[in-house]
C-alpha cells in the first residue's frame, strides 16, 4: 500500500506553514503506511553552503559533535532526535567519504543546498512529532508513509530516497525490473545503500538529471524504463513532479489553488488544507507527467 503526499507552494503565502500542512497530510496517511515515515523539506538557502541530513542512529550526539568538529572546521549542527542537519562548505564527495570512513554507524539520508530529509521506522504520527515537522518552513515538501512489502522495515528502507544533490523521490507501488536496472546503474557509477526498489527509481532519476535532462523529461522516459506499479512524487531544488504508471492501479489526487499544489494518495490526506474545498481537484491521468517549477 503506502501513502505519499507532497506540497509545492506557488506563492510565499504559506511558506511558514509548510511543515504544519505536510504533517497533517502524513498523519492522515497513517492508515496506508504504519511501518515507517519520512519527509523532505526544501528551503531557500545559502548556495555556498551544503546541508547534510544524517541519521546518527545510536551514536551519541555530543561525541559525534566533538569528533566531527576536529575534522571539519566551520560547521553548524542542528539535532532533531536521531537526525542531524550538518551545514558546511565542504564538498559532497569529500564529506561523504569522510563520514563513511570515520563514522560507519551514520547513514547519510540526503544532501544539497536546500533539502533536509528525515525518515525513521515507526508510526507516522510519532515520526512527525519526533522531528517536530510542524515547526518547519519551506517552499516545497514531500512525504511518505510506508507499508513495507518488498524489503525490511528499516531506516534505509524508508522513503524519501535521495540519491543526488537536492533530489528526492517517494513511491507508492512496486517495481519488477529493479534488480536489472540497479546493475545497469551501478555500471554507470550510481551507488545504492539498500535492496529497495524505490532507491533504484531514485538512482534512475539522479542519473538522468546528471545528464542534463529536465525532471519532466526524466519521468517521461522513466515510463518506458521503469516496469511495475507506481505513483511517484519527485522533488528537486526548484521542481516538483508526479507521475502514475499506465495501468494506474496506485491512486493519486491533486488539489490545486492559486497558492499551492497538493498531491496525496487519498483526498482525506488534504481535507485540512486551507481553501481545499475551492481547489481544482483532479486525478493525474495514467502515463502523464505533471510538473511544477523546473
Amino acid at each position: 500500500m503506502c501513502g505519499i503526499v507532497g506540497i509545492y507552494l506557488k506563492t510565499k503565502k504559506f511558506e511558514n506553514n509548510l511543515g504544519k500542512m505536510l504533517s497533517g497530510m502524513l498523519n492522515n496517511m497513517e492508515s496506508r503506511g504504519p511501518d515507517s515515515a519520512g519527509f523532505a523539506i526544501y528551503k531557500n538557502s545559502d548556495r555556498k553552503e551544503y546541508k547534510y541530513s544524517l541519521c546518527i542512529n545510536k551514536l551519541d550526539f555530543s561525541k559525534f559533535k566533538k569528533n566531527i568538529s576536529q575534522k571539519i572546521k566551520n560547521l553548524k549542527l542542528n539535532q532533531y532526535s536521531d537526525h542531524v542537519i550538518l551545514k558546511t562548505t565542504e564538498k559532497p564527495k569529500k564529506f561523504i567519504n569522510l563520514i563513511n570512513k570515520e563514522f560507519p554507524e551514520i547513514s547519510i539520508v540526503g544532501y544539497g543546498h536546500s533539502i533536509e530529509i528525515f525518515k525513521q521506522v515507526g508510526n507516522p504520527k510519532d515520526v512527525v512529532k519526533k522531528f517536530n515537522l510542524e515547526s518547519f518552513s519551506g517552499t516545497h515538501g514531500i512525504g511518505h508513509t510506508r507499508m513495507a512489502t518488498e524489503s525490511a522495515i528499516t531506516t534505509d528502507g524508508s522513503h524519501p530516497y535521495s540519491t543526488g544533490e537536492d533530489e528526492c523521490l517517494v513511491h507508492n507501488g512496486s517495481l519488477s525490473n529493479h534488480n536489472n536496472l540497479r546493475r545497469e546503474l551501478k555500471k554507470k557509477g550510481n551507488i545504492f545503500t539498500s535492496e529497495n526498489d524505490t532507491e533504484v527509481a531514485a538512482g534512475y532519476v539522479s542519473n538522468s538529471l546528471s545528464n542534463n535532462k529536465s525532471l519532466k523529461n526524466t519521468l517521461v522516459s522513466g515510463l518506458k524504463d521503469l516496469d511495475g506499479f507506481y505513483t511517484f512524487i519527485a522533488g528537486t531544488r526548484k521542481g516538483f513532479a508526479v507521475v502514475r504508471d499506465e495501468i494506474a492501479c496506485k491512486p493519486a489526487v491533486i488539489a490545486e489553488t492559486k497558492n499551492y499544489v497538493a498531491i496525496a494518495s487519498e483526498f482525506q490526506a488534504m481535507a485540512h488544507l486551507p481553501d481545499v474545498n475551492n481547489a481544482k481537484i483532479f486525478e493525474p491521468e495514467p502515463g502523464i507527467v505533471y510538473s511544477w517549477g523546473n
Partner: protein
Amino acid sequence: MKLDLKKLKLRKVNEQLQNIDRKINNRNFTIINPEGNHAVCAGLTEELNINIKGHVGYYCAGMNQRANITIEGNVGTGVAENMMSGKVHVKGNASQSAGATAHGGLLIIDGDASSRCGISMKGVDIVVKGSVGHMSGFMSQAGNLVVCGDAGEALGDSLYETNIYIKGKVKSLGADCVEKKMDKKHIKKLNLLLQEANINDQKAESFKRYGSAKTLYNFKIDNISNY
C-alpha cells in the same frame, strides 16, 4: 437532520443511517464535513434522501439499496460499488471503479469518471456526463453504461451483455467489444436514461452503441495461445 462528521464518528453516522426505524417519516439527511472519509453511507437499505456536502473517499454508498444519495463533491475509488437499487448522484468527478459489480439502481456522475468505470457491472445503469478512463466496462455483464464524453483505451474488454453508449470518441475497444446497431429499443432506453439523469441537451440518436461480439463466450481451441 444534519449530521456533522467533524463531531460524530463515521461508524456512528453509518450505524444510524443503516438502522432507520421503518415507522419514521423524516427521511431527509444532510452530511457535512465528510473530509474524504471512506465508506460514507455504505450499506444503507432503506428509502432515504441523503445529501453529502463535500468530497468523500473510497466506497461511498457501497452496497446501496433503495437510498437516494447525492454527493456535492468528488468521490474516491468504488463509489456505489455493488449497489443493488436506489440512486447515487455524484456532482463532481469520480475516481476509478465507479459502480463496480453493481446489480441495480442508477449511478449518475456529473463530471468525469476515471479508469475501470462500471467494471464487472451486473445490471446497474451508469450515466457519466463527462468522460471515462481506460478499461471502462471491463467484464461488464448486464445493465447500461452511458458516457456523454469520451472513453479511454480498451473500452468494454471481455464484456458480456452490457450495452455501452458513447457520445464522444473511443480511444480503443477492448477484446471482443464491437460497435453495434442502435435499434428502436436501444434509443428508447437511452432516452429514458438521459431523462432520468436530467440531461436535456443530448439526443440518443447521436450516441454509438458498443457490445459484445460474443466470440469469447465459449472456449475455442484456436484461442489457446491467448491464455
